[in-house]
Symmetry: D2
Subunit: 340 residues, 4 copies
């Protein structure tokens, strides 16, 4: 296989192994040359499975290797900023899973380090590469529905994560809505000025006791006049619910969920379909391949990455504003967050 780019994986957890599989078998220009994980056995198992020659526990061993061109950071969120800075200092190109960090100041330091080093950095908002969302983006860009007036995003998980996860998640807005904030900016191509949030604990009281929310509507006032709404739930019993509508002067475009097949069964009871895909990895599998392919292509061709460091920063600002709006029951301008 034609391998032009040596890539090291840092973090061999669930999402790390997904990227490893794609780098090993589905992206011809990439070579998975190292795997690092604080759990050395996990690193070794991953390296063995996907044919990487070297496995290490300490990510710094990766950055020391001259032959490593780029790193894919899939470690715990609270290590992202530190590894980004170290990788940038070592001259490695960077793919980093979202979020960069929960702390704006820490994000800004990391982005400054990347800028100083002149390396390329892409943030892992994979949904931008999904065929459905890409189609909506194209429609907006080409004016297929005229001037956009409204954006509505439905984003519901099949089931809430474990409480331990929720406690470390940064809260629903930084963990779940963050994807939708990115999608809103991506689809509309404009920035948000102010946010109003209506949210509640409806799915599981334990989530509320942990200080988090599980049901939310977020109203986005865009600079270009579009009114956006995002709705989230931690639990849609019928599966992963990921829909979008953009409405404009020329019409509307909406996307529906992906089902495992197109079968319609009609019986004496009802006309029905099988449930939508339930697991985010099934639903978004192809988008993970495509985002990694885009990263590899951008590095090899020296073109800008399709998802920048700033694209990783702004949704964090939006998440902080959304939470403040809920806490204070009022419209919050994003400038209140960034000027603080």
């Amino acid at each position: 296989m034609n391998t032009n780019l040596n890539i090291a994986l840092i973090g061999a957890g669930r999402i790390g192994r997904v990227h490893a599989e794609h780098l090993a078998g589905r992206i011809p220009e990439a070579h998975l040359s190292m795997v690092a994980d604080v759990d050395r056995e996990a690193a070794e198992a991953c390296a063995r499975k996907f044919g990487a020659p070297v496995a290490v526990a300490d990510y710094r061993a990766v950055l020391d290797k001259a032959e490593v061109d780029a790193v894919v950071i899939c470690s715990a969120t609270d290590t992202h900023a530190e590894i980004i800075e170290a990788a940038a200092a070592a001259g490695k190109h960077i793919f980093c899973e979202k979020p960069i960090d929960f702390d704006l100041g820490r994000i800004d330091q990391a982005l400054a380090a990347v800028a100083r080093a002149g390396v390329l950095m892409q943030v892992g908002f994979n949904r931008r590469f999904d065929a459905n969302f890409r189609r909506v983006r194209e429609a907006v860009r080409q004016g297929e529905v005229g001037t956009p007036h409204r954006l509505h995003i439905i984003s519901r998980d099949p089931a809430p994560p474990p409480l331990a996860y929720i406690n470390a998640s940064g809260g629903i807005f930084l963990d779940m809505t963050i994807h939708d904030f990115d999608m809103a900016r991506f689809l509309i191509g404009s920035e948000v000025e102010a946010i109003y949030t209506a949210a509640a604990v409806r799915v599981d009281p334990a989530i509320g006791e942990a200080g988090d929310l599980d049901t939310a509507v977020v109203v986005l006032h865009f600079e270009n006049g579009v009114i956006g709404t995002i709705e989230n739930s931690r639990q849609a019993v019928y599966g992963y619910d990921q829909r979008v509508e953009v409405f404009g002067s020329g019409g509307s475009i909406r996307i529906d969920n992906n089902h495992p097949n197109t079968a319609v069964v009609s019986t004496a009871q009802h006309v029905r379909r099988d449930l939508p895909l339930n697991f985010f990895m099934d639903r978004y599998l192809d988008s993970y391949v495509d985002e990694m392919q885009a990263f590899v292509t951008a590095v090899l061709e020296g073109t800008p990455p399709p998802v920048t460091g700033n694209d990783g920063r702004v949704p964090v600002v939006m998440g902080l504003a959304a939470r403040r709006s809920h806490d204070e029951k009022r419209l919050v301008r994003l400038a209140e967050i960034t000027d603080a």
Copy 2:
């Protein structure tokens, strides 16, 4: 035909003639006995077309007739309250088109008159009788989607009305959203405590110059914890867009638009359907028959009307709150309106 109820129509405009046709041909227990309209020629034309024996200019001539059991009020909005009071005083049962009035005090006077007279009064929120909306209501009532968490209503007109109409309309929230406010209460079966509005002029600047809005998102905080959203536009170029979704602990129910046929055409360009029904009278025709049938049945059987005077009052409160929220860019509690 078996006619038990003598009904007089007051106001022979567009909606009045629709009711006249149904009373004459599709509701066996009703007899259209008189038509009144300030434009006597309109009254006569309508009476002739639908077989009513008498036509008059002054609605008071209707109320004088002992044989008239009930009136259907379809005159201009600013005459509703006065006619309701007079009809109640004359002991006639009342069907009145929405809105009762734009002024809360005036509405309260009219409702008090009805209560004093002990007559039955039904308000013309016809959409409650539509097969789609009724199906959603049943699903919520029977727990088919569990405990509701979210309600989303999409309500878009095919094209804005003439400016002259808009100037007399009371504004988008009292003219258009009022239907959705009623629908929200009907579907969820709970009252709204507070409202946040994000609205704009996106369709036609002339609407803005008239002091009105044409694009709106209204967030509803229900007493029972449901978070509702209504979105309106004065112009959906593809036709009348009337969709709803209720999401809850047990799943979701959503209704789509009605099309004139079920045909799907696949060509070298695309796979397509004909546009949704464009005219509200086509879209909601059956609901007009069913609401009038329900009125006639309620009067004949002495049962409570399915849409009460209070159901006519609350959406006006909501409309006033929605406008204030937009004007003041803040969450507005309904109590601020009713306690004023």
Copy 3:
């Protein structure tokens, strides 16, 4: 109401009462002036309910009245031909339910009588007036799918009729498929040359013991080269299944079933819709109004009826050919039937 045409109903059974209701309340130019039924009580009940002044037992009493302009024949099939001939001799315009008769010679006599009298005659193939089928016809006529190559008709009843009905029905091809034979000719606008049938008893052995079939595929070789297929079943447990696809050089058009609402319910089990409309009268209600309106308009304006006597005759030929093909396990040319 503006009544230009006095119409007498002959036969006050189920379908007769449907026509009576439409003539009385929904077709402004028609006046239901008499009802005849061999069961005089049925005639009187129908007349009373729909406001017809006169009820009689003998249809000849109807034909004697000079003021009757037209008759609507809904009596038992074996009386159709006789009543047509008598009505034609009396100079009455004729609407006759399908089939005219099961015997080709008898049909030809009746049609000859109509031709001699110069009256207008329309046969009751109501589905031609249904919005879905009309849309397909328009697509074919206007070349929206290019030159047609294929026609596929799915036509399944919700449940088999009682055995007593089946015994008098003329068999599945003359009772059920006859509608689809008419539809095939209507949609393609060409005649069928030869027919191949594959049929069986799959739903109920008692139907087979009665000498009939309950499951059938009929292949139609059209003169214009189109290959048609019709599939019938006496029992689709999910409801009335009435679909069509026309495929051609420019694409395809297909129509799906009509449901009572557009609701989609998603639960932990599946994504489902309510069953299609189950009863032919619900499914085709509007088409009955429209066919009768078309008849009234044709008589009043002196224009040709949209469904002629010959349109009533040809499907009987096709039904006889379909049965012979099944019996002899071979392709049967229609000329074999008509030349016999």
Copy 4:
């Protein structure tokens, strides 16, 4: 990667390269160890691209290698039988693209060679592994639609192949319908007794001049009483049209086409979707991975292949019967072909 099975590819054309890519990157237990093609450059290019160590021109060089466990035969159809026999003699397990051959006698010799050698052989009917068709098969197997009465298969190509291809194709029934014959047997789980064909040249007269047909309806009389129909066209301008319906005593299951996304665009003209996937490789990509995975698993585990040699033979019999039925305008029993 964990490679237990050494596989050699014979034939590096379009479909061969697809299998090579999957063997190299997506099937962990397989190792692509050799590529053979009469065009040595093609063999070398394919080997280089997918990391196979050896490339040869003569497939016999492959069979000589002891370390090769299995062969994947993707060469020209007229070489299949010969290579099967040689591979069997060499003790290699065999995956062979369809059809095995156009000549029944030749097929029987090849299958006998496989039986004698005791090697495993799987035929390349990939559609059985498609998620949609698999879902229908499961529904039938589990009685989800009761006892099947009807099967309807729609199978239309986006555009006819070049005439050169058609001339060598064996005709539409052996080239195109053969997939549907296999699908019919797979879905219903019963054999076909007799076939009636209605076919024509409607797409391109040149196809007719070449002695072939481009539009066909094939009626299948199954042993278990099911009536099947297959319809084919060489050209559906809207894309690859692959639908199926099974109807039975308990209801129906139908599958629709696969689209590149779920977007619905509503404009002032219509409500539309993007065209279905157009290229068979896009439409059936996953099924090619899954069929090869199934082959590898069957060989490694010593279980029967999911598509046997007999499954490769019977559709050829059906194709010959279908053509004879068209030529002789009559029902043809399969025994007429096999007993000849």
